[in-house]
């Protein structure tokens, strides 16, 4: 599986993503700067966590207008896989590649801790190595991760089985609607989630629950 990690000014999880992808796929991803207009020929594009453009205006708003996002959109339109983690999820909603928006955490605090999640949907290229309802623990680290969408959109996401991850009961760290932690695009080739699967692929780092996500992608793309 060939992958690329896009990085913006003030991305800070790009190297975490690179390390996880290298470890999981055996091949280092291409690192692509936000001003590059062309993407290398890859199967998976990762938008990493961080504070792109200092979170100016709104989290992900400036990044969504960057040159490289045109190519990311074209990649997604062709059915290419896109994974947005944390700030990457915010960039995807601001780019309208995923519906809804991520707002200030309900308790107004930056939350940085491991959080229990449930895998809500395993029929996707990102999650097929998990079992339905499986409880996993991923770390979260964000101040603006409260998922919001109107009721109609939320009903549609649930009706189309596009909620990939939910915060487990009592674990919602940010006030997200319907405990949503991660969602799929209509064509199911784009996944955005606030928790960090790339930080739990190695026991040394405190867990391996994120491995199955990368294994799913590798199996799907090889």
């Amino acid at each position: 599986m060939k992958s690329a990690v896009i990085f913006f000014p003030a991305s800070n999880c790009d190297r975490d993503a690179k390390t996880a992808l290298t470890q999981m796929t055996g091949k280092a991803p291409a690192m692509v700067w936000h001003q590059d207009s062309e993407l290398p020929d890859v199967d998976l594009v990762v938008l990493p966590g961080g504070f792109s453009y200092g979170d100016y205006l709104r989290c992900g708003a400036m990044a969504s207008q960057s040159v490289v996002m045109k190519s990311v959109r074209a990649h997604a339109d062709k059915g290419g896989m896109v994974l947005g983690i944390c700030n990457g999820f915010q960039v995807l909603t601001e780019s309208h590649l995923l519906p809804g928006a991520l707002m200030r955490n309900a308790a107004l605090k930056f939350v940085c801790k491991p959080v229990g999640l449930e895998v809500d949907e395993t029929q996707s290229a990102f999650t097929r190595h998990y079992s339905n309802g499986q409880r996993v623990t991923f770390p979260v680290a964000h101040g603006e991760g409260s998922y919001f969408a109107d009721e109609e959109t939320l009903d549609r996401l649930e009706g189309e089985n596009r909620v990939a991850f939910r915060y487990a009961k009592g674990e919602n760290p940010n006030g997200s609607a319907r405990n949503i932690a991660g969602i799929l695009s209509e064509k199911r080739n784009v996944l955005g989630l606030m928790p960090h699967p790339e930080r739990v692929v190695d026991d040394v780092l405190g867990g391996t629950d994120g491995r199955a996500l990368f294994q799913s992608l590798i199996e799907n793309l090889s």
Partner: protein, 79 residues
């Protein structure tokens, strides 16, 4: 030409910051304060003096970048 754009959260969208501001005001003894909603103001300088064209352009700016219309609404003021 100068323009001012007001960006506020849509009705029904939770505003935890507004809530915290309201609590703080109540704590300061401003007992009359009920619900508080906060937002932002963006001042822009535009070239040209065709007001109608400027308004159209500002609308496009709001839709494309200045506001996230999933959660926010905007008002444009030309001076």
């Amino acid at each position: 030409m100068k323009a001012r754009v007001f960006i506020t959260l849509k009705t029904g969208v939770l505003d935890p910051q507004g809530k915290a501001i309201g609590h703080a005001l109540n704590g300061l003894g401003f007992a009359s304060v009920g619900e508080v909603r906060q937002g932002k103001v963006i001042d822009l300088e535009l070239s040209g003096n065709d007001q109608a064209a400027a308004k159209e352009e500002l609308k496009a700016m709001c839709e494309k970048l200045l506001a996230n219309t999933v959660i926010e609404k905007y008002e444009i003021e030309l001076k």
